[in-house]
Symmetry: C2
Subunit: 192 residues, 2 copies
């Protein structure tokens, strides 16, 4: 998506450690008109797949997913919660995500009432790097017997390999901007 690539070049900041800051428009301050056009793009790409629910993870994915859902016939959006601790009351599916940024594991949960067999899930998130967060969401869907029919990503850091690993497993991953490499010295960002 040309507009997103240009916005990343204009407002994104490359930091040491392979970090791309896009908090001016994507995950701290939110450009909702851009989110809307991203939603329209995903709706074109995932047309005809019978998506009946969108799933994401708090916090950055929520705004994007909720605005995008309007292009999918206002299907419900369910966001997985990062739990402080696992609540074993049996009312939740639980998985574990390893965060490279924070170098620790954390549990993610979703209420069993909101995910079930028969659900055709589109997962939406702001970033895809190594894919750990997505694998946690896919695991939650698997526990519920829900089918992941597509994965819509705003920015894929393609050089980190998570996207291709998911594609190799058969998942349909559509990323609106795919980064081939970044240089925190020059600030340059190269797209695929």
């Amino acid at each position: 998506m040309r507009e997103l690539e240009e916005r990343i070049k204009r407002d994104g900041i490359v930091k040491a450690g392979n970090v791309l800051k896009v908090d001016a428009f994507l995950n701290h301050q939110c450009d909702v008109a851009l989110f809307d056009r991203m939603g329209a793009e995903w709706a074109r790409e995932f047309d005809g797949l019978g998506v009946n629910k969108i799933m994401t993870i708090e916090a950055s994915g929520i705004g994007i997913a909720c605005v995008a859902a309007r292009h999918f016939g206002d299907v419900p959006v369910v966001f997985a919660k990062k739990a402080q601790s696992v609540n074993l009351d049996g009312e939740q599916y639980c998985s574990t995500i390893y965060s490279f940024t924070k170098q620790r594991e954390y549990p993610v949960i979703v209420g069993k009432r909101f995910l079930g067999s028969g659900d055709r899930i589109l997962i939406i998130d702001d970033f895809l790097a190594n894919g750990c967060a997505l694998e946690g969401l896919i695991d939650l869907c698997g526990q519920a017997g829900a089918e992941v029919v597509g994965i819509g990503i705003a920015i894929e850091k393609a050089h980190q390999g998570g996207g291709d690993r998911l594609r190799a497993k058969g998942y349909r991953v559509e990323s609106l901007a795919r980064i081939a490499g970044m240089d925190d010295g020059s600030g340059e960002i190269e797209f695929l």
Copy 2:
């Protein structure tokens, strides 16, 4: 807002300890068509105030704020982040919120680049009970010299007094559903 009250009566669950669970449509699974009508309602109520930015706090407020922003000319949405620790790099405004639910204080931050004097802020959130979270957001705006021109709330637990305390301070608080009392025995919810 009649529709929201009826939805709360239909899908809300009253739990012991004055807890109202609305995770079926508001803050875990999200009904984005409802969010859109809530946004239209706030746009009517806050018409003519020159809102140029919407502020909320992660995680539950984000989806509501992003969908609502479409009714305010696509103004940017900034969400305050619940920080693990205070980052004293000088790039963030920081405040402290006391959570009665969790019985502890936690820091909230917002990037200084995204809030400034001249900003006319509409704060949006899912719940207003004692008002502690809102006071933290108002404090962040005050530090930045931004003016809070309105506060739009989905569900106000009016019997907990936070809304009236804010109104007494001169803030314009518009809550789409105002709860006068709840009974976790009968499950009954009474609206103002």
